[in-house]
Assembly symmetry: C2
Homo-oligomer: 640 residues x 2
């Protein structure tokens, strides 16, 4: 395997964008341990410096329209963003707040007057901003936010107000120290009528950094990680902003106090507005996958050198990564990191396609589901992988200088911010159940359950249409008759996707049946939904597992000859480990015989040994800049 | 359920010891967030103050002989120690280093002259000490340490020396700042002959805190957590100590340079010395279980109040802990925490019994295996539980002020210190394979494989003797014939332990067969062992799972009538969730039918709902002092 060929293939079409960020990170050799070395506020200010430097280097401009100094290269923008995760994750997150969420809200939710006035300054970092959505009382359930923006027709102004302690804006990046303006999500009240959540631009600090009248700012204080980001709280006391402060792409209020929107259904309007912010989830998922790459680069290089305990007939101890258990702990995670990398690359392509072509609602919903699923699996993967890498490095992994500590602390919140992972998988499953129909309703369980009940007939029809597919899968999947050769076809791509597709379809139809059954029986819809919640979430996960697997299959097919065999081995390890992890389900549903199930475990072990000799090359192909991994990870041999 | 009855039962015979520590922690209301508030060195010095306070309060004295001012209450000592984990884990670990490891080495490895001279000062904290075992190049493989202690007959002194960078003492608690003396583990060389690893007391700092001549001390710097402990490195350059510095309970060197030991086999001698230090593992396991209690107390109280998303027909949102998925994520972990609590209590009883009665080697080996297994499962449980609790509290869980951040960071290293968990489970399995015979050999894989090969005939005999038991189990376990009523007997204790015993025995005999088969076939013994390593470790885990389950069964049987039904529900949840987690194995081995496997998942869900109403009472029964959990966890209702 040529390392550079594999790296080129992983970098894909956005290699240049990634390399610019790599060079930038390499230029700041101190990035690895800022969190450890700098006092709290100094660390935050240093991250701001680096943020402004990245703006000067053109990172955010890549993702914005040419009219405002940008390059309109959405795919490259996300790829560059993700690559920031090779450095300091506080920088990645603060850049995400400023250039992704704040500037993104202006671009996607605002209109030309907002773009003209603010966009260039937001992209350059001259105007530092917050994305003030989450409230103390409401994280995931954005539709229930308490902050209000009430139109005062006489003054031609909106009055932004925090009506309760629960409605306080909380955990807001850039709010504690640097932000001058906030994109505030609030219930829009016009002429006494509430029109649901909309977004307005509200100045919060003056040029000297002091809070503006009516705005109370406070600091969330130290966090488990990401302490380079100044998260804070914002309370509004009847703060007035001009009518033009409303970001009015999807809904307008005229001077006379008339509210209008091209999207009549308030739920659809809300989800359309939220949908434009999908970029945040795409970026966080990518950053999590890249953080996993950093951890694996450290742990696999360490395991390839560190020796412990005696090998027979030798004074020298055995290398950690030659132990089966060490391989078992790290190499399936390496393979899954490859799989998620390719799934993320597909997602980024789709993101650029949907936004460049201004695609229809169906495509946008599909993109949102794909982003939600990849974010959930990518961030859980990061938590698991970094933990395993820390343990695999023993005491050395616990020292802050060795980076795993910071990685672990910084990535931890990824599983719950930009959408709690369990809520996101529920969203994925719901999208599948409703087949992305126009009537895409509320996120709340009641809405889902009722909707599914209404659609039950159609789902039954679909299920009937599906039956031939399932029959075909059943034929393709060796079952109880596999006793003769339990290994037959275990490395066959079609067999893998057949199993994962069967599982996905079976779970989805099972959920639909249970929901309908409960509703038909007259049970309380919330109870009906709640009884199935674990099933719903498992179905969402099964879908994303399948998407990720097939993205890897496509990547192997399209790979240059030079690296394809190597990549096929990594793919096989991923596929077998994925099926092994769910083998209980396949056994329960008659899709694996006991003998075949055991054969899958045996083959997964073998594939670990097959992949092991190339393990270091495979992590080197991630191209994590040296400054991030060439930390003083002490690996002296015992003879040193 | 009466909360205080449950708490009394959990506290058991050492309630008084636990309550003293609880009161001490409650008196220091600032304990929860020292790590966040104080600068690095100030935090370390504050922890030292608290350590000396705990000594003044009599915590360490409890565990030491009456002759040296102690109370000789070993069980109470460990219980008190574990309870420190309700406060600040740096305090628990630093106290462990001082009062457990350092003073423990003097007590268990030294003789009367050492006890007379040092023990009272070590217990009072007047003599601060280190436990210098781990080296940069050697963590788990202690027998391969590089540090040497060479006897100079002419001078009547030992010369302690660090011969290589890899032999540097590393991660040593108390070394960076406070320790004056170190219990140093080194290869003892007498008359040119090496006698393996022994322990000596070596002064490292003078009364002013300066390093003594020949001793180089450095600071490991910031760590992922436990930053109140001053971990450091020690390098010895031909440091001379008198002959009496050798802790000579198990081996002596006379003035004339004659080495003698009552234990002739060097391996047995080494493991006997190490075995006296089992207390450290017992304490860490207990601390990890108690850290899980703190996390669950926070997350379950939070989940019992926090609302999110709409319930049908109501303006009010649903309570998080009423969602099935939220129950699923937290309540089996709560049940397992109860299970581990009772297993730990059994272990502490056994520890006190073995050490009080000075029991024989067989009992000591059994205790070591029990301690290793409980430590491995308890610490992994803590990592998993605290992570889950953090996610279940969303953004609030990420703020340092809310304790979960610190808990997560502080407990992380528990999985790899005081014995790496995978190595420990290997040790457990090895003990079972060799049935704790006198010939208990080296820890290294080669030794294991050869030994097992030698014992293979005997194992085969044992297996034959076992067969009737397995047959009986098979009869007791409903299998394919359960289609009529897949729920039958699912809440039967004997069914649970039958399944877990079957699994344990099946795995152990399988491993033995594979090892013997490989050796018989003439394969390289290391390869033979390595091919089975995942199987060996899984067998160790299966054994400990069974021990934990049966400890819970015993605890339910012995519980007062008042709380038994409640405890039985929690037990059932633990048992079903444990079997569910391994249902793939049971399906593969014909011990569960697909229908019954699904029924187990369904019943686990139901049991979550059964336990849920008492969830808050169940965590309150842990008796975590208010200061540790009554942190400003913000849970305003949306109407506040």
């Amino acid at each position: 395997m040529s390392e550079s060929a594999m790296r080129d293939y992983l970098d894909g079409p956005h290699k240049a964008a990634r390399d610019v960020v790599r060079a930038g990170l390499a230029a700041h050799a101190d990035l690895g341990d800022l969190a450890v070395r700098l006092p709290h506020d100094e660390y935050r200010d240093r991250i701001l410096d680096l943020l402004l430097q990245s703006a000067a280097d053109g990172l955010p401009a890549r993702g914005y329209p040419k009219e405002y100094g940008g390059e309109a290269d959405l795919g490259g923008f996300i790829a560059a963003f993700e690559t920031l995760a090779f450095g300091d994750l506080s920088l990645m997150v603060k850049a995400g707040v400023q250039f992704g969420l704040f500037a993104g809200a202006i671009l996607h939710l605002g209109t030309e007057k907002h773009h003209e006035r603010y966009l260039a300054d937001a992209i350059s970092g001259r105007l530092l901003g917050c994305f003030a959505m989450t409230e103390t009382g409401h994280g995931s359930n954005v539709q229930a936010l308490g902050t209000t923006a009430t139109y005062d027709e006489a003054a031609g102004e909106f009055v932004v107000h925090t009506p309760s302690a629960a409605a306080r804006k909380d955990y807001i990046g850039n709010a504690a120290r640097h932000g001058r303006m906030a994109a505030v999500f609030a219930q829009l009240v016009v002429g006494g009528e509430s029109h649901g959540v909309h977004c307005l631009l509200v100045p919060i600090r003056d040029a000297d950094g002091a809070a503006l009248p009516g705005v109370t700012l406070s600091d969330c204080g130290p966090k488990l990680g990401l302490n380079g980001v100044d998260n804070g709280r914002i309370v509004f006391d009847q703060v007035r902003v001009p009518r033009e402060a409303l970001l009015d792409r999807y809904a307008q209020v005229d001077a006379g106090g008339n509210y209008s929107s091209a999207i009549e259904n308030p739920d659809r309007r809300f989800f359309t507005m939220l949908g434009t912010l999908v970029q945040g989830r795409v970026s966080v998922g990518g950053a999590a996958i890249n953080a996993s790459k950093v951890a694996l680069t450290i742990a696999i290089r360490y395991g390839d050198q560190r020796r412990q305990f005696g090998a027979p007939g030798s004074d020298e101890e055995a290398i950690l990564l030659d132990y089966r258990m060490h391989q078992r702990r790290l190499l399936p995670l390496l393979a899954r990191t490859y799989a998620l990398h390719f799934a993320q690359a597909e997602l980024v392509d789709e993101f650029a396609r949907v936004f460049n072509d201004d695609r229809d609602e169906h495509d946008r919903r599909a993109l949102e589901a794909q982003a939600a699923g990849t974010k959930a699996l990518g961030t859980w993967h990061a938590t698991e992988t970094i933990q395993m890498c820390r343990e695999a490095c023993g005491g050395a992994g616990y020292l802050a200088e060795n980076r795993l500590a910071t990685l672990k602390a910084d990535t931890d919140v990824f599983t719950t911010f930009e959408g709690d992972n369990t809520v996101l998988l529920q969203l994925v499953a719901k999208g599948l159940l409703t087949d992305y129909r126009e009537s895409f309703g509320k996120l709340d369980p009641l809405g889902t359950a009722r909707f599914v009940a209404a659609q039950a007939v159609e789902i039954a029809v679909e299920k009937a249409a599906l039956r031939p597919l399932i029959e075909r899968l059943r034929d393709a999947v060796p079952n109880r008759s596999d006793a003769a050769d339990p290994d037959a076809g275990l490395r066959d791509d079609a067999y893998h996707s057949g199993l994962l597709r069967f599982r996905e379809q079976h779970m989805l139809s099972g959920v639909a049946r249970r929901l309908k059954g409960g509703i038909d029986a007259g049970d309380d819809p919330f109870d009906v939904f709640n009884r199935c919640q674990d099933h719903v979430i498992a179905a969402g996960r099964a879908h994303v597992d399948r998407i990720v697997l097939e993205a890897f299959q496509t990547a192997v097919r399209n790979a240059p000859d030079e690296i394809r065999p190597q990549l096929q081995d990594v793919y096989d390890l991923h596929a077998l480990a994925t099926i092994e992890a769910e083998r209980a389900w396949y056994l329960e549903h008659g899709r694996l015989s006991p003998g075949r199930s055991k054969a899958i475990t045996a083959l997964t072990n073998e594939l670990c040994a097959v992949v092991r000799p190339a393990a270091v090359e495979l992590v080197d192909a991630f191209g994590v800049p040296g400054s991030a991994t060439e930390v003083p990870m002490v690996v002296p041999s015992q003879h040193e």
